[in-house]
Symmetry: C2
Subunit: 413 residues, 2 copies
């Protein structure tokens, strides 16, 4: 089944907010064998909404919209839906009851604007929004379905999972299987990897497709197959996985699409090791990435973010003389940070960073983007100097990713 997603909101077209709903929906409908055909982002504009619905139905059986359903005056989606599907606006007492419950749970008071949420087009069937005040609306026309959901990601995600996906599954029947296999590869650039896999690619069975999804420091390889015969497809994908394993060996650090922090976490857990971080330029981002993974308390003990030189000295034991002679962004400093945090927090492994994230603070010898990273496991320690291009955010992200990959390589042996 093909799906068109329409994302509604002026704030998206001026870039003030980034749409994450369409990606979330895509990730969750894909394993069901449903295919997101396109995503269209439009403003809070009635004519645009009506046009997008028409285009969506022209190419898909199902149109999902998010956004434009809040209580304030800039939201006109509900009226556009009424115009498209017909009927009049009616006051729905079940919606009113739900709004009252949600408002009460949040310890807020109801007012005229939240009460206005209870008006819905008579042409829709309401799915009660248990986690917000904007009702979810299910419309049908000529055998096709449109479901209008709120823009708040938490509400859309919760209600898609609890109600919308199950209802869509019983409404539509899918007999095509779509399967993915993802491999996280290190040690290769995209084009060198593509040459290595030229022969492999030439022999991929029909209906299966290989995609390269490079990210800083890693390449995700994704095999996607579609077939009416799910068993055959699974067997073909297993065979191809085996071939990739033979070709790439330990350069494949994961056979699942998961964050690098989770891959590192799995390696630490398997080996019964604990980890800490000592962060200057990454400012806590490495600890954040590691602890974003559920269950990370199995191996992550803690971190010292030593932004000022005083903290490097007093808490992590970097000698004042070394800081004075070599500067904070230097090999001996990052090595001592690594040792220091291991000693302080009693861990076996650690990662330390010290660099110039920019935009200020650069010098001819240590320009913006210069980062020293050190990783340690027991008595093995490796330090490297990098130069990462780009803005402050990117330098922080690259340093974070690189530190975790350095430790993965050290653990891989």
């Amino acid at each position: 089944m093909d799906i068109s997603i329409i994302v509604i909101g002026d704030e998206l077209l001026i870039g003030q907010v980034t749409d994450t709903n369409s990606g979330w929906i895509a990730r969750h409908v894909n394993p069901l064998g449903w295919n997101v055909k396109s995503v269209k982002v439009i403003g809070d504009d009635e004519a645009e909404i009506l046009k997008a619905i028409g285009e969506g139905f022209a190419q898909s059986d199902l149109v999902l919209t998010t956004g434009g359903l809040g209580p304030t005056k800039d939201d006109i989606t509900k009226e556009a839906m009424r115009k498209y599907f017909g009927g009049s606006m009616v006051y729905d007492t079940e919606v009113e009851k739900n709004v009252l419950e949600v408002v009460e749970k949040r310890h807020l008071k109801i007012n005229d604007l939240t009460a206005a949420q209870a008006y819905v087009p008579s042409s829709c069937r309401v799915i009660q929004n248990r986690v917000g005040t904007a009702p979810i609306m299910w419309f049908e026309k000529d055998g096709k379905v449109l479901v209008a959901m709120p823009g708040v990601p938490f509400e859309t995600e919760q209600m898609m999972e609890r109600e919308v996906i199950p209802q869509l599954m019983s409404h539509f029947c899918s007999d095509e299987h779509i399967m993915h296999r993802t491999f996280i590869v290190i040690d290769y650039s995209e084009s060198v990897l593509a040459m290595k896999l030229e022969q492999f690619e030439a022999n991929i069975p029909a209906g299966i497709h290989l995609a390269y999804l490079p990210r800083p420091g890693i390449i995700r390889l994704r095999l996607t197959g579609r077939s009416a015969n799910g068993d055959q497809l699974a067997a073909d994908l297993d065979m191809l996985s085996g071939q990739l394993q033979d070709l790439l060996g330990s350069s494949i650090i994961s056979y699942e699409d998961k964050p690098v922090a989770a891959i590192l976490g799995d390696m630490l857990r398997e080996r019964g090791l604990t980890i800490s971080t000592a962060e200057s330029c990454t400012g806590g981002n490495m600890a954040h990435e590691i602890t974003a993974i559920a269950g990370s308390s199995d191996y992550f003990v803690g971190s010292v973010v030593s932004y000022s030189n005083d903290v490097k000295q007093l808490v992590l034991g970097v000698p004042a003389s070394v800081l004075a002679a070599e500067g904070a962004v230097s090999q001996p400093v990052v090595e001592q940070m690594c040792r220091g945090v291991n000693d302080l927090l009693h861990t076996q492994c650690s990662i330390a960073t010290s660099g110039v994230a920019g935009p200020g603070g650069g010098s001819p010898e240590k320009p913006v983007g210069t980062v020293w990273i050190c990783v340690q496991c027991g008595d093995r320690q490796v330090a490297e100097r990098y130069h990462f291009p780009g803005t402050r955010d990117r330098v922080i992200d690259r340093a974070t990713m690189t530190g975790m990959l350095m430790l993965i390589k050290l653990l891989r042996g």
Copy 2:
């Protein structure tokens, strides 16, 4: 001028990657008075690309595409462009020279696939991509323009700024002004704020529009005006800003759209105060948010991420007896973490968090989402218990945001 953006890549339609290019472009063309009419996300599919270009030109003078230009086989955008605009594929020696330079800078070797980047449709004018190997292509048809850019955000952002936007500015002339004013508001829910501003909204001059952009803990209010008369528009917006200031007072914590961490940073810098954080459930995310702001070393000293109870005890001085009696997620623990990090890192202000981010670790008394947060400035300390709904990510984000807002309120007095 109206712009349509087309974002190309299968990985976006299965939700493996989130599009950030369209938001970046929108943020950067908007101040020029250009209007992003819609964003369409489609797969690596020739027919879809051709259709999207047609739709884009039907509603806009300018179509910008990102993605689908890598060297590997899953990218077919270049051939679709050639079909749409005509001509043949030609080998461009200037592109080859640029690819060689870029590859050399990255200390990589050129291979057949990177060399293939030098083939471009004869119907385009090439803009050399100084930060990547995929050439940027400028096409014209019937007085309209399409610029095809790579999908890697860093490359698109760099080249838009350096080359594409300046060239578009000299090609198109804009005589309409679009101006925004954004206000960050706390203390109100969206609907209570909307009622407070009902009279204000009713008197907004024609051509100016008010939008509510709620985020957890804050509401961003945005006034958008369009007019041929820039001076009049600026004067009207100034008048409305003054009215909002009178109505909302210190509930407006910023008159610019900036991250809460930057607003907090400005307050600390103005008052000559330093800050540290002691983080358990937020796992370094608060330090990361604070240090994501350039210049944060003016006030941010460091952080202790005390994920394990040992670290809370040994580094932050939480008594073992208190941990045993009250548990890590408790008022006395978070209060001592706050004092402990202030003492250890010699700061005046601090924020401490301890909670159950989930999905595991909840109990009937302290379910997942329970978070104690404490903020301190000098001898003033405030601790609050919260219950944040949602997934692990959301609990971490909400706790991070709430901690910073609590300190903003304490500093506001």
